[in-house]
């Protein structure tokens, strides 16, 4: 059977994927972009086309950045790229055949169900770092970016007693957006640690090369304070309380414990790369100590250890939308060179200013990565009864017990107590499982490995699964 083939298949239509598509199309290459969402934009510019036409007021409120992104999306639509939306990837084989389904987990006849790539770009972005704490599975407790998704896609904003807990610039950004939309936030519980603040100071001078990031951060904090929101720093524990749904949030700071009534608790602990697909493909990964996550090992163009597979954007080292966009262009230039569409000299010439711009955006990162370094308190939940694996309902204590029995890797823990075996395939618990094994065994996380990721990446029908064999 001959499959429909494309020179360049891009997974993800966020800033990274769109930029790569534009550069590839400018050179006449046949490009296909697949994305789970219903339109281009990625996480940051989710639903941007619909927002602009149906909710122009809110589109304006999202700021200048959003308005210029609207041009990027328009260029993407017009560049002659083939794009299939509402397509979720569930398997990619070694020869780069890509299997995908619609959101219902089915094939439909609108597009071919299997395509082949000569070169594959993975630009699937990041996800929020899970923040397991007692009661975090109660309805009414959500990821902070979930509220942002609801706002951007459906114009839904939190109502009632809203509490935010965690740390990181994205939490501040989302809190500010809520303020602008008229939401009353009851409290922001800042779980960031003071040591990181001190340790980040030596990195500040380099960060000042791009002062706009720091200015933006400072003005967000100022805005939230001015609005009179209760902001508590140095929070050491947070618990979500309730029976059928969230009713209260209890937190501790030093010797002080306080309980707040709450209808919605939004958690944020920074973002980490989504490595499910690079893991599936067997790309080499490395441990990034500063932010304590796994990232694919890549060269300056984003090429992974697997031939014909590169990455761009926040599914590698997390660095935000501007860097994602620049990395998308760079990855595409190198693909064009590898495919002999342009010469090495051409590639280098066209990329020079892109590298310069990327370096200037990256200057602030070491400072931010240190300042918002996740602290151990939150990586290894202190309360042993906390659920870590939400799918299979496995607690910290069970993981520690498995380690005591000799399970010294996430995969061994999984085979012993099913942790990471549910439908999310360890997307949620993976990093915490690693941290708990490291804590219990005294071994460094980078020596422990990770879950082996196998197809299907999402639940599909048995009929479809049979295709694989």
């Amino acid at each position: 059977m001959t499959l429909p083939a494309f020179d360049y298949v891009i997974l993800g239509a966020g800033p990274a994927g769109m930029a790569a598509a534009l550069t590839a199309r400018e050179h006449g290459v046949k490009v296909l972009v697949l994305d789970e969402q219903s339109q281009p934009g990625g996480q940051i510019y989710r639903n941007i086309e619909t927002l602009k036409t149906t909710r122009p007021q809110e589109f304006q409120k999202l700021g200048q950045e959003y308005q210029s992104a609207s041009q990027l999306v328009e260029n993407f639509r017009q560049c002659g790229v083939e794009h299939w939306f509402e397509r979720s990837i569930w398997q990619i084989s070694k020869d780069l055949s890509i299997y995908h389904v619609n959101p219902e987990g089915e094939h439909d006849s609108s597009v071919p169900s299997l395509v082949q790539a000569k070169h594959l770009l993975i630009a699937v972005g990041a996800m929020e770092r899970p923040m397991p704490l007692p009661g975090w599975t109660l309805p009414g407790v959500m990821a902070c970016t979930a509220a942002d998704v609801l706002y951007k896609t459906s114009g839904l904003v939190p109502e009632g007693k809203v509490v935010l807990a965690g740390s990181g610039p994205l939490m501040l950004l989302i809190a500010c957006r809520m303020l602008d939309a008229g939401v009353r936030i009851s409290a922001i519980l800042d779980t960031g640690n003071k040591t990181s603040t001190l340790e980040s100071l030596p990195l500040l001078p380099k960060a000042l090369r791009t002062p706009s990031y720091l200015f933006k951060g400072a003005s967000m904090i100022w805005k939230l304070r001015k609005a009179g929101i209760k902001m508590v720093s140095g929070v050491q524990t947070v618990e979500a309380l309730g029976t059928q749904k969230l009713e209260q949030v209890r937190f501790r700071k030093g010797s002080m414990t306080e309980t707040l009534g709450a209808d919605l608790l939004l958690l944020h602990h920074g973002v980490v790369p989504n490595v499910q697909i690079t893991r599936l493909l067997g790309c080499e990964h490395q441990w990034y100590e500063q932010q304590r996550y796994w990232e694919p090992k890549v060269d300056e163009w984003g090429n992974t250890s697997v031939k014909g597979v590169s990455i761009a954007g926040d599914c590698g080292r997390v660095a935000g939308s501007k860097v994602a966009e620049l990395s998308g262009h760079l990855a595409a230039f190198d693909m064009l060179y590898q495919m002999k569409v342009i010469t090495q000299k051409d590639r280098d010439q066209k990329s020079k200013h892109l590298f310069e711009q990327r370096n200037s955006h990256l200057a602030v990162r070491p400072f931010l990565d240190k300042l918002f370094q996740p602290s151990k308190n939150w990586l290894v939940p202190q309360d042993d009864s906390t659920l870590v694996c939400r799918c299979e309902e496995v607690t910290v204590r069970q993981i520690r017990d498995a380690v005591k029995k000799g399970a010294l890797s996430p995969d061994r823990v999984k085979s012993l107590i099913r942790c990471g075996m549910g439908p999310c395939q360890g997307r949620v618990c993976g990093l915490n499982v690693t941290e708990i094994i490291a804590d219990e065994s005294g071994l460094p996380p980078e020596t422990l490995g990770y879950f082996k990721i196998r197809p299907p990446l999402r639940p599909i029908t048995l009929g479809l699964l049979a295709q694989l064999h």
């Binding site: 996480q43 219902e104 599975t137 998704v149 459906s154 839904l156 799918c391 639940p459």
Partner: protein, 97 residues
């Protein structure tokens, strides 16, 4: 838990647990249910505890529902469509498979 900033003019009819709603198009099943005040989507497979949408971006699989008779549908990813029949996914508990 959530409120809508503005209403769309075009609506689709869906039902959740037998109750009918007219909801905006262009949104996921999860956001339609949250806008109607429904937070509990399923019960957990081992301990039978209430669960609802958590990440809203297809990562956590906590939003699984039964849609038009098919179980394990990701409510945050599936767009609402006219006449969808949506049910909670209730587990019998202690079911490790």
């Amino acid at each position: 838990m959530f409120r809508k900033l503005s209403e769309d003019r075009i609506k689709v009819r869906i039902s959740f647990e037998g109750e009918e709603f007219f909801v905006d198009t262009d949104q996921s099943v999860a956001s339609a249910l949250l806008a109607e005040g429904h937070q509990v989507f399923r019960s957990s497979v081992i301990n039978n505890q209430p669960r609802g949408a958590f990440c809203m971006m297809g990562v956590c699989f906590d939003c699984l529902l039964e849609i038009n008779g098919r179980p394990n549908q990701q409510a945050c990813m599936v767009p609402v469509k006219e006449n969808m029949v949506i049910k909670r996914q209730i587990s019998s508990g202690n079911n490790p498979s």
